[in-house]
């Protein structure tokens, strides 16, 4: 479904990502791990169109997407979350979810002004979808709160719900467990697995929480200093000497 071939990203003299390759099949959870500053988020930024990669190809469902504007990539069905939660803080929880569904909404101004039946129908559908996902992540009671006032764990869940209402084919999660307590991490674990099992979404995951990564990943890619270090199943990665060295330092 997603194929990244020899992706490179250069910032002036710094080669942040060097020849990274990656592939994700349908209904698969693939993790990218690596020490801090390894270039994981840069890979994400290239994939989601925030950066224009300086080399390599990114194919999403057979279509080259490298260098496309971010909003177009997102409309293809590749949606991401951010390392630091990025919600629309002053808008309510449900408004956050409505904004995300704009490509499903009739954006014709006149239809909206008059309130044609077609427009109302779409609006109602998007409200239902928002309600469904709020219920799914346990935030339905807080639907009319300002998103910025939610607790951190709730904000994380809202961000995932906001991606899911866009009905993506692939979800890119950038450190979703950062700042969560063990119980919340466990919930997140179940949520991500259920996204794959019940909603047929592929997931690309950047995460430092090894128990989460090992638990739910189908395959893992390790990046170190911008270069691919290893890839394989969690079991293979766990026993890979290079990976151990990169993470624990040379003995």
């Amino acid at each position: 479904m997603l194929e990244v071939k020899n992706l490179s990203m250069r910032f002036g003299g710094l080669l942040a990502v060097d020849q990274v390759s990656l592939d994700v099949k349908e209904r698969e959870i693939v993790s990218i791990i690596g020490p801090n500053g390894a270039g994981k988020t840069t890979v994400f930024n290239c994939m989601s169109g925030f950066y224009k990669p300086t080399g390599g190809k990114i194919l999403f469902e057979g279509q080259e997407v490298q260098g496309k504007p971010d909003y177009k990539i997102s409309r293809l069905g590749m949606v991401r979350t951010f390392q630091h939660v990025r919600l629309f803080g002053q808008m309510t929880v449900v408004e956050n979810l409505l904004v995300a569904q704009h490509r499903h909404l009739n954006t014709n101004l006149l239809a909206g002004l008059i309130g044609t039946p077609n427009y109302r129908e779409r609006e109602r559908k998007s409200l239902d979808r928002a309600a469904y996902w709020l219920d799914r992540v346990g935030l339905l009671e807080l639907a009319n709160r300002e998103a910025g006032n939610l607790a951190y764990g709730q904000q994380r869940r809202l961000e995932i719900a906001r991606c899911m209402v866009t009905e993506p084919k692939m979800l890119m999660l950038d450190e979703p467990a950062a700042g969560l307590n063990p119980a919340e991490t466990k919930d997140l674990n179940q949520l991500i697995v259920s996204l794959k099992e019940d909603y047929d979404v592929s997931v690309v995951l950047i995460e430092h929480d090894m128990s989460l990564v090992m638990d739910i990943s189908d395959r893992i890619n390790v990046i170190n200093q911008g270069r691919p270090l290893a890839s394989g199943t969690p079991e293979e990665i766990r026993q890979n000497d290079d990976v151990i060295k990169a993470y624990l330092g040379e003995a």
């Binding site: 909003y71 951010f82 449900v94 409505l98 904004v99 239902d128």
Partner: protein, 423 residues
């Protein structure tokens, strides 16, 4: 702490003296061709000293005084009362608003001509502020050249009527659409800019339009402006004493009533009222539509908005265009009300006042903006005697607002959305 306060107070008092004494304490007097400096009389000097003492005392006991102010605020604003049920409040609100509009419809028939004239001006400012509210309050794009679109609307009507004899009702949509087109054109180059940079570019655009109007003498008449702009007609009925245009009839003759200059003023007021209500309703509707939510999303977090598939270009341009559209509306009404326009009416100060209305009212809040427009337009009229100190009062009001209600008179309230429980 006390010593620090004392030092600070002394410093402030000194600054007060330093600034006010040279300004107020010396007068320049012309003797023949020479100018000599004469010291002011004792009362002025005493006044300056008194001011310094007041500043000193205020700074010395600042904490206590501001503490009291804080108490006051908790008395007025933060009443811990149970909020009304959302749907009930919405119902009451809509009734009250309808009542006010109906009242506003009949009000001019019992008022003096001057008051109605002033009210028309207020309504024009309401339209402008509501339009700018879209750009600044909702989309978060600081536009300092908003008056340019106002000017486009006004000049469109003036020029069309002068050269082509177009009437008010035809010029109204044309003026608004042309202003919207200018909004679109300005929107393109500033798409990438944010915050301060955007403010500077829009400021420049406002000035360009004004200077263009000032210098393109062959078309616009330059600083002399354009006069003789016709009044609006009501189904071909004119409000003047005599009919100016072929084919029209006059209002007072048709209805068989005595001519009165007030008819025209009231009619203009009613047009402005209808247009202001129209503006408010349309923008209110926009706010609840996807486009309105997109504006706010872009204001809150542009990167997140783009990652969800919102096109920055489309969202920003729509905000600029719609804001400019309503400025064009207001401009056309303004031209018709004045009967004469010149670039003088579209200086930067106008932009600043409209922006001040939006900020005072509360960014994004429509009711707040309307209240602020009324306050900002009427207060200077009431305080005509102090006209020298108008800007001073204006500035003081701004400072007080920032202390008391930094979020504006009536901060924007989120729309409550009922969700059905899912099975």
């Amino acid at each position: 702490m006390a010593a620090l306060n004392f030092k600070h107070a002394l410093f402030c008092a000194f600054i007060t003296l330093l600034i006010s004494y040279p300004i107020l304490g010396f007068n320049l007097e012309a003797k023949g061709i020479n100018v000599t400096i004469v010291g002011a009389d004792t009362t002025t000097i005493l006044g300056v000293l008194l001011a310094a003492v007041v500043v000193f005392l205020f700074q010395l006991f600042r904490d206590q005084i501001m503490g009291r102010v804080g108490d006051l605020r908790s008395l007025t604003a933060g009443k811990p009362k149970e909020p009304m049920a959302e749907n009930r409040r919405a119902k009451i609100e809509s009734w009250v608003l309808t009542g006010i509009v109906v009242l506003a419809l009949f009000w001019p028939f019992f008022m003096s001509r001057g008051a109605v004239d002033l009210a028309t001006l207020v309504l024009i400012y309401i339209m402008l502020a509501l339009g700018l509210n879209v750009v600044v309050g909702l989309a978060g794009l600081l536009d300092l050249g908003y008056v340019a679109f106002y000017a486009v609307g006004a000049y469109t009507f003036a020029l069309l009527s002068q050269y082509l004899g177009v009437s008010f009702w035809v010029a109204l949509p044309i003026g608004a659409l042309l202003a919207a087109a200018f909004g679109l054109v300005l929107g393109f180059p500033v798409l990438r800019l944010r915050g301060d940079y955007l403010a500077i570019v829009t400021l420049g655009f406002g000035e360009i339009i004004r200077i263009l109007l000032n210098n393109w003498t062959t078309l616009t008449g330059g600083p002399n402006g354009i006069g003789g702009i016709p009044d609006p007609t009501l189904f071909g009925m004119e409000f003047g004493r005599r009919v100016k245009e072929e084919g029209n009839t006059s209002f007072h003759e048709t209805f068989g009533i005595a001519y009165s200059g007030e008819h025209k003023v009231i009619f203009l007021y009613l047009i402005a009222l209808v247009l202001a209500v129209f503006t408010a309703l349309v923008i209110r509707r926009f706010m609840r539509m996807p486009v309105g939510r997109a504006w706010e999303a872009l204001r809150e977090d542009e990167i997140a908005a783009r990652s969800l598939g919102l096109s920055r270009t489309a969202v920003k341009l729509s905000a600029f265009t719609i804001g400019a559209f309503f400025a064009g509306f207001a401009g056309t009404v303004f031209a018709s009300k004045q009967g004469f326009i010149s670039p003088e009416s579209f200086v930067f100060l106008e932009s600043a006042i409209i922006l001040a209305i939006v900020v005072l009212g509360g960014m994004g809040s429509q009711i707040g903006v309307v209240l602020a427009a009324i306050a900002v337009t009427i207060l200077p009229e009431l305080a005509r005697e102090f006209s020298e100190y108008r800007m001073l009062i204006f500035g003081a009001a701004m400072v007080l607002m920032m202390v008391w209600r930094p979020q504006g008179l009536m901060p924007m309230r989120r729309i409550h959305i009922e969700l059905k429980k899912q099975e």
